[in-house]
């Protein structure tokens, strides 16, 4: 006997990917999601690509501080230091 769990379609799955990765799917939805992945290699590819996106985003380096902005901030800091009597 198979339990009457309605199958998740690929179209539905792609909308649940973030909830899945954020671990915010209710248990039964999560089960349906994972069940679908067991037989659907296309959705496995989709999820793998999403993970590759996240990994790449994590490797993005911050745009560096422009020299003028850096100088302006240092000047602000020095002014503050003088004014507040902070520092040694």
């Amino acid at each position: 006997m198979t339990p009457a769990v309605p199958d998740l379609s690929c179209r539905e799955l792609v909308e649940l990917v973030t909830d899945y990765l954020e671990a915010s799917l209710p248990v039964d939805e999560r089960t349906r999601f994972e069940l679908h992945l067991t037989y659907c290699e296309f959705c496995r590819t989709y999820l793998a690509q999403m993970r590759q996106v996240l990994e790449s985003a994590g490797e993005l380096t911050e745009e560096s501080l422009a020299p003028e902005a850096r100088d302006a901030l240092l000047a602000t800091f020095r002014d503050w230091k003088k004014g507040s009597g902070g520092g040694s």
Partner: protein, 219 residues
Amino acid sequence: MEPPSVSEPAGITTEERELAALRAGDEAAFLALVTRHHGAMVRVATTFVRSQAIAEEVVQETWVGVLRGLHLFEGRSSLKSWIFSILVNCAKARGLKEVRSVPMSSLGPEEEEDAPSVSPDRFRGDEDRWAGHWAEPPAPWPDARVESSELVALVAEALDTLPQAQRTVMSLRDVDGWDSGEVCALLGITEVNQRVLLHRARSKVRAFLEERLGREGLP
């Protein structure tokens, strides 16, 4: 059997060390802090004002405010969230003065289009026995390209194409590594809104990458 230990080693946190150095007027500590948060600060600021140049000014103003208020900071929140709350206040104040400023409501997903993550014509139609399943499935991206730095560059490019609120949320979460609670608190949005914005952003970034490298290998 020993009960699991719950005590944390009582050490001085990195943040406490930074704060002490800052208060002592340590320039290197200040620059390190400025450099670390600069990208995220500019991005958050651009959520409220209309140009990159104004966002940069807001960041400058923020540091003035941070330094002036430093003696008042009591460590009830993290130094990072305190700095960013000052930033948001500066950016909002600035945004109000701007004629063409971005309204606050633009942070809510209701302002965003309700487009699906993947174009509907890539799935089988309702008359099909496999309705809703892939008709034009994604093809795995070539390993060589995934392993190169190309993907990172494409993600950067894709982020720039996103609507402001989506870009801010995805950048804070996935580039700067903030957790969802921090993002919600900073931007004043609910967990659900945050997740919707994040989902739309990530889906579009994936689609952008697919467009650039997924279909290229197809016949």
